[in-house]
């Protein structure tokens, strides 16, 4: 049956209710054709994506292919290569043609449609990938997976979080990553970055960029507010974050992890738009003493573009105090446009990893020297600030 079903995969004239030749050749089917199309056609197109929410749908997956499918019905050489659905057979086309127009589509056609759509979503080796997905789902449901000491769920992060962030990074912010050679392939290192954008999207994008380009997991250190908030806290732990405290930072660094810190904290992320790209105070330099004590290099990271995603023009301090959060952002769009205002502006991002600042020359006991710690902190801060200015001079526009 699979052979036959696959053979018919191409000729399913979704949208014409089974009558070939009704296509108008226009991008949109004629109203007559739309009336003919059975209402039940939708599940067939939607079913496979629903099985894997994280899967990236091919652009315009369902509806956009309909008109083409119509044309295919009277032209025998169909788009076999694109869908990988197998060769079309005349008999399949005939069978479809004789079927009654409303709801009379044979079961085998539905199966073929599902198969074709699976191939569309998962690619050519869809059977293997579907099996993998099912195995993944089973493992998740049975709790048969591992988390590390910090609660990091590697499988979930790779298969779900990263997959969900990737289109945002590539299509929306068009991330450009520079200086990847500065990230060591193994061993502990501390990535120090500027923080901006009202919502810590820059952290998520940095994690994705490091994962996709440097093939390592960036383990972010988050404020305790992150771990106090429901949902956010469990997502943060699962994606590899831990609390920004000396104990955890040193434990991770000496464990050979690539750790990310945003020392500006809420001062950086919640600064008004008028102060964009002006670095705030770099905490109390705790990240430097952690790096000194573990002897790992500090990699300065400058992110350009994140400042413009939610231009923060106002704040409601009283409400923020009431809710126990550092600020309530007012952007030109946010409370006014409702949920639409939560869509970040599509600025173009540049991430530049700078040359590592080595700390292994210092003795671990020198971490106790506040002057040295302040000096190194300033050095890191200056490096990031100057790189930011260079990148800003270099870029053509915010959105290009």
């Amino acid at each position: 049956m699979p052979e036959e079903a696959r053979g018919e995969a191409v000729v399913i004239p979704i949208g014409t209710g089974g009558r070939p030749g009704r296509g108008t050749g226009k991008a949109r089917p004629s109203s007559a054709a739309r009336n003919l199309a059975p209402a039940a056609q939708k599940p067939a197109a939607k079913k496979p994506p629903a099985k894997k929410p994280a899967a990236r749908r091919p652009t315009g997956g369902g509806p956009a292919t309909e008109p083409r499918a119509e044309k295919v019905a009277d032209a025998p050489p169909p788009r076999v290569g694109a869908s990988g659905g197998g060769p079309a057979t005349e008999s399949g086309a005939e069978k479809v043609a004789h079927a009654p127009p409303m709801g009379g589509i044979p079961v085998s056609d539905w199966l073929a449609a599902a198969q074709g759509a699976a191939a569309e979503v998962f690619g050519d080796d869809w059977e293997r990938r579907l099996a993998e997905l099912m195995a993944f789902m089973r493992r998740r449901l049975e709790g048969d997976y591992e988390v590390d000491d910090y609660g990091f769920d590697r499988e979930l992060t790779e298969r779900f979080f990263m997959a969900a962030l990737r289109p945002v990074a590539e299509k929306w912010f068009r991330l450009e990553v520079r200086g990847l050679e500065n990230i060591p392939a193994e061993g502990g290192a501390l990535v120090v970055s500027n923080h901006s954008g009202t919502v810590p999207l820059d952290g998520l994008m940095t994690m994705l960029a490091v994962h996709d380009h440097a093939h390592r997991f960036l383990r972010p250190l988050g404020a305790d507010l992150v771990f106090k908030m429901p949902v956010v806290s469990s997502l943060a732990r699962k994606s590899g974050a831990t609390l920004a405290c000396t104990e955890d930072a040193e434990r991770m660094l000496s464990g050979g992890e690539l750790v990310g810190v945003w020392p500006e904290g809420f001062k950086g992320i919640g600064k008004p738009f008028s102060e964009r790209y002006k670095l705030q105070r770099f905490g109390r330099g705790g990240f430097v003493s952690a790096a000194l004590r573990t002897g790992v290099p500090i990699i300065p990271l400058s992110v350009v573009g994140a400042e413009e995603i939610y231009p923060l023009v106002g704040n409601v301090p009283s409400l923020a105090r009431l809710l126990g959060v550092p600020y309530i952002p007012i952007t030109p769009f946010f409370p006014w446009l409702g949920p639409l205002g939560m869509v970040p502006l599509p600025s173009k991002w540049i991430l530049e990893f700078g040359e590592p600042i080595r700390t292994d020359a210092y003795d671990a006991s020198e971490a106790e020297d506040p002057m040295l710690v302040f000096n190194v902190t300033d050095q890191v801060r200056e490096t990031i600030q100057h790189t930011l200015f260079d990148l800003l001079r270099e870029r053509d526009g915010v959105f290009s």
Partner: protein
């Protein structure tokens, strides 16, 4: 010449089993079990002395029996069995103080092993991922078991300072789990539907009951002084544990879980204390490096294996123990 070991809290299952196991150890000559009520099960070669550690009689027992090792494991976690929070505190804190006072006066005791718990570290969003023995709780426990244990640990430290010739070993055990354990946490997992705090997925660490018995015996026999976290390797998240258990769970806001816990406590269905709510919200992890390097102990079960053993018992007798809380 073997050691003479005195075990407190022998009426409880875990104390009785430890005493029996210790009596079988070749380097231990005699085991004396002490409690207010006689043990319910078979105690084998253990001689039972009915004494209340809350009054000075215990000093006489120590002297009369020539006890050289005291294993203190009568700190109880729930008021349920004792009759109330007041009695529980009395038993835990005053009992420990009296026992320590007796040990201080004793000329024969040269080793003290105290079974403590990782609950002393508390659970808060400001906790480091892994607590080491040198760290304390981020916020001092204000009530319940955690407060009792915190105070007892303080008295034990004081005792160690006053009697430097006595080797004091403090075992901070992670949540003990196993087929025979009836604790607030195991009763929680025995509920037909497991309530969870919405939006939080705490990290849990377990110690198998056999490993607890082994580590106490190890400490009593070797007498390595210090404070040690003892837990199985690795961690489980609560959602993972519930899925492995194969039980339905329901996520509720934190206050609703707290309310439900209070109701269940009133109905004597489960002992769901505020500190347990904190634990089930934020979780906890402890570092066990020192357990390996200094104490020289290796748990036989990892966290996941200990939980799997617990699950096996649950699936074979799914309803047994539900009403035992």
């Amino acid at each position: 010449m073997g050691r003479v070991v005195l075990v407190t809290g022998i009426s409880r299952d875990i104390g009785r089993r430890f005493a029996r196991a210790a009596a079988g150890d070749p380097s231990i000559e005699r085991v004396i079990g002490v409690d207010v009520v006689p043990p319910r099960g078979d105690i084998g070669d253990v001689s039972f002395v009915r004494a209340d550690i809350r009054n000075p009689v215990i000093a006489k027992v120590l002297a009369k029996e020539d006890v050289d090792t005291v294993v203190h494991m009568s700190v109880i976690a729930t008021p349920g069995s004792a009759g109330g929070r007041g009695t529980m505190k009395e038993l835990n804190v005053i009992g420990s103080m009296q026992l320590l006072a007796a040990c201080q006066k004793s000329t024969t005791v040269d080793r003290l092993v105290v079974k403590s718990t990782t609950t002393v570290y508390g659970s808060s969003p400001r906790d480091p991922a892994m607590f080491t023995e040198d760290m304390g709780p981020k916020r001092l426990p204000s009530s319940g078991y955690a407060k009792d244990v915190y105070e007892i640990e303080g008295y034990v430290r004081g005792f160690a300072r006053r009697r430097p010739d006595v080797d004091v070993t403090m075992i901070r055990a992670a949540n003990v789990i196993g087929p025979h354990v009836s604790s607030p946490l195991t009763n929680y997992f025995r509920l037909p539907v497991v309530p969870r705090v919405l939006g939080f997925d705490p990290r849990l660490q377990f110690l198998h009951e056999d490993d607890l018995l082994r580590v106490l015996r190890h400490a009593a026999v070797t007498g390595i002084p210090g404070t040690f976290n003892v837990a199985g390797d690795g961690l489980l998240t609560l959602s993972q544990a519930v899925r492995r258990l194969g039980k339905p769970s329901i996520a509720m806001p934190r206050f609703a879980v707290g309310r439900l816990g209070a109701t269940m406590r009133q109905a004597r269905l489960s002992d769901f204390s505020p500190e347990q709510l904190g634990f089930l919200t934020y979780g906890r992890g402890v570092d066990t490096t020192r357990m390996r390097t200094q104490l020289g102990f290796e748990p036989a079960y990892s966290t996941a294996e200990a939980f799997a053993d617990f699950c096996r018992e649950m699936t074979s007798a799914p309803l047994e123990g539900v009403g035992r809380a």
